[in-house]
Symmetry: C2
């Protein structure tokens, strides 16, 4: 129940840009979300089951994992395949669209990881300067 208006939460409050498309932010929210990025990156390498994703990511609640997967599926980036075995198993993989998108996400995170030490060092120097 609750809200039946899907996960789209574009803010009609003000006319910001993103080339005039407010909906872009909605999609970006899904993609750049904490778990969304990890899901997209992990699925580049191979198809994964729900529990495998949970294990790989670590520290994600079932609720948030399901929710993030749902959002990416609704946007057409992730394909959900159900095998009616007993017990049931569900596999997640990237769609062609997701396969295009994921590298962009990975290049961003990779850059940040590589330059993380530079950022932390910079923060430290700023901090010392204030404590002069």
């Amino acid at each position: 129940m609750t809200t039946r208006k899907s996960a789209l939460r574009l803010r009609p409050r003000a006319g910001n840009l993103y080339d005039g498309k407010c909906a872009t932010r909605g999609v970006l929210d899904h993609i750049t979300s904490r778990w969304g990025m990890l899901i997209l990156i992990l699925l580049i390498d191979r198809t994964l089951r729900f529990s495998e994703l949970a294990r790989e990511i670590g520290g994600v609640s079932e609720k948030m994992l399901a929710q993030s997967l749902r959002a990416l599926e609704d946007d057409g980036f992730v394909l959900r395949t159900v095998y009616p075995t007993k017990p049931p198993s569900v596999e997640y993989s990237l769609t062609p669209l997701g396969t295009q998108l994921a590298p962009h996400v990975r290049s961003l995170t990779t850059w940040v990881e590589k330059n993380l030490s530079a950022v932390l060092t910079f923060r430290e120097k700023k901090h010392l300067r204030k404590a002069s």
Copy 2:
């Protein structure tokens, strides 16, 4: 006052990945935030003043703009230059680090903008299938 522990809010709750670096998420939060992305992209083209940024972005409160700029400045992506004129003026530009980062952000948003119609169409088809 309030919290004097800087803007860093890494969650020590669970050991997720990002190559073992939790702080990476903190940086990514700043970069991929609603206004953070816009700031980085806009500053690629040219240096902008506070009020110019506010006008270009549109619909951002002074509080959030200042907060986002502050986070990016603390991380070493944005350079803040104060000119002690009367009235005062402040210019924001990208640091060398920010100049490296921003294109990654732009490539992501550009891709999403280009493929937004595909996403929206996909959502529509899903919606119709459910209403069968």
